[in-house]
Symmetry: C2
Subunit: 282 residues, 2 copies
């Protein structure tokens, strides 16, 4: 099975429409139809049910969509990591570390400083991404290592080491009556009158329904809180980012957040091993 065939099939399976898929792939529709038929013949399996008015996936087609995406990611990762390894003329391709923008604001500089002081350190590029994008970036080779935050991020298919665990705090406008309380319960924070929890974008860019403001990053979020339009529960390390007119109150019954360093299991290079070792010793 060639990656071209996989790309074609994934396009059709996602669009469920040969014409649109062909346009997306930049080819005409007939060669695409033929390629899919040929793939089905070679596999001996019907992947799509064509109804001349609609295209639907068979059970086998759903399997190939899932497995094919993973395979294409792996091929793409091989391509990208090889290019990177080749461009680095000095022999050490450097590392790309990815983390959510605004998270681990205390840990990350400490880690980078400590690692840079190691004898065989390589340059580390830091990539900031949105919620839930890290796993994808690791799998398709755009990043080598990530800082993830349990229980929010998934670590399936990744190797991990735990770094730190911290409690969470509620972030409120400084003048709010509850801001002077020694601690709050989750139930109290979730039902603050006039201070709904913000809504973060999903993987596809859309926002869930709800009363809270739509936010894309911590700057937006803190602005909304300072304006008295929202409240939020965050790991306590976010305190270092707080504006002057915001207050943080511990929420002991919120789930503890564990920061882990994660990497794709088959790509443990010497440089990566050094970074992980440094991280676990912090």
């Amino acid at each position: 099975m060639e990656t071209r065939e996989l790309r074609y099939f994934v396009a059709v399976a996602e669009e469920l429409h040969f014409g649109r898929a062909a346009r997306r792939l930049g080819i005409a529709q007939p060669p695409l139809s033929r390629a899919i038929r040929q793939l089905e013949r070679r596999l001996g399996v019907t992947l799509l049910e064509r109804d001349s008015r609609s295209v639907t996936l068979t059970a086998a087609g759903a399997v190939l969509l899932r497995e094919g995406r993973a395979a294409l990611d792996a091929v793409e990762a091989a391509d990208r990591r090889t290019r990177r390894a080749g461009q680095a003329t000095n022999g050490d391709p450097g590392l790309v570390l990815v983390t959510k923008a605004g998270a681990s604001s205390e840990l990350l500089p400490k880690l980078l400083d400590a690692y840079a002081a190691e004898p065989d350190a390589v340059p580390v590029e830091v990539l900031l991404c949105g919620i839930g994008e890290q796993e994808r970036l690791l799998r398709d080779g755009r990043a080598d290592v990530a800082l993830l935050h349990l229980p929010f991020d998934s670590t399936t298919g990744l190797d991990t080491e735990e770094l730190v665990t911290e409690q969470q705090v509620a972030v409120l406008p400084a003048g709010h009556p509850l801001a002077r309380r020694p601690h709050l319960r989750m139930a109290e924070v979730e039902t603050l009158p006039g201070l709904p929890m913000p809504r973060w974008p999903r993987a596809d860019g859309s926002y869930p329904d709800g009363p809270g403001p739509e936010v894309r990053d911590h700057a937006q979020l803190f602005q909304h809180i300072a304006l008295g339009r929202a409240a939020v529960v965050l790991p306590e390390s976010c305190r270092s980012l707080l504006l002057a007119d915001l207050a943080a109150v511990p929420v002991p019954d919120a789930p503890a957040v564990t920061t882990v360093i994660a990497w794709p299991p088959h790509s443990r290079s010497r440089a990566l091993a050094g970074l992980v070792r440094t991280a676990t010793r912090l």
Copy 2:
């Protein structure tokens, strides 16, 4: 990057010889040379250093060998799993469970029985393999789920659930003086005069050096022990397999063995989820 190019490069990188690699691939040498050159041009990276007398991998080539193997495994897995999903006309492709031959001899039948009693159970094919082969079989799609034994097997890149933890026992000839002791220490078992530990094959089929007999499975192993030529430390569930003239003595300071059920993270089908749920409830 096409899988054909990857297969070609992996062959050359493994053989470090264009002629042999071409023979292995069933093509002539010139097209292979050209394909590799073309791959290097497209990646903009030198993968191999040709010395007209020997071929060596560059750093980038080593990266592509590692990542390319993983990518080819993923493509192969997509192919195999799709074929299996299509052949199962009833819609449920069944599951392939792999475990080391001779291990989990108590747990496995219980698991299969319990799962078969579930309302939406699908047929489970059991595949027995050698030491350390399970991860490969999961990654390239020949199996869907495995029983692994920590700390011996690696679970990197797999999702797992712990099932049972057990102590280990020393297996000795029934007449051996130490066979009547209530327990032994690791140090004692490792230095039994005339009873060396057996040697298991490595991934490439070769055997490590040492005094013990070469064994490929438990039947061979137990025969050697019964003949008074070897001793071994195994999880205590192996007791159910013991021949009459063998004795098992607990070894409290041997590392505990944890049996886990493991599966590739991206392929959690409904049937697989049911099997895992059944396993964790045993």
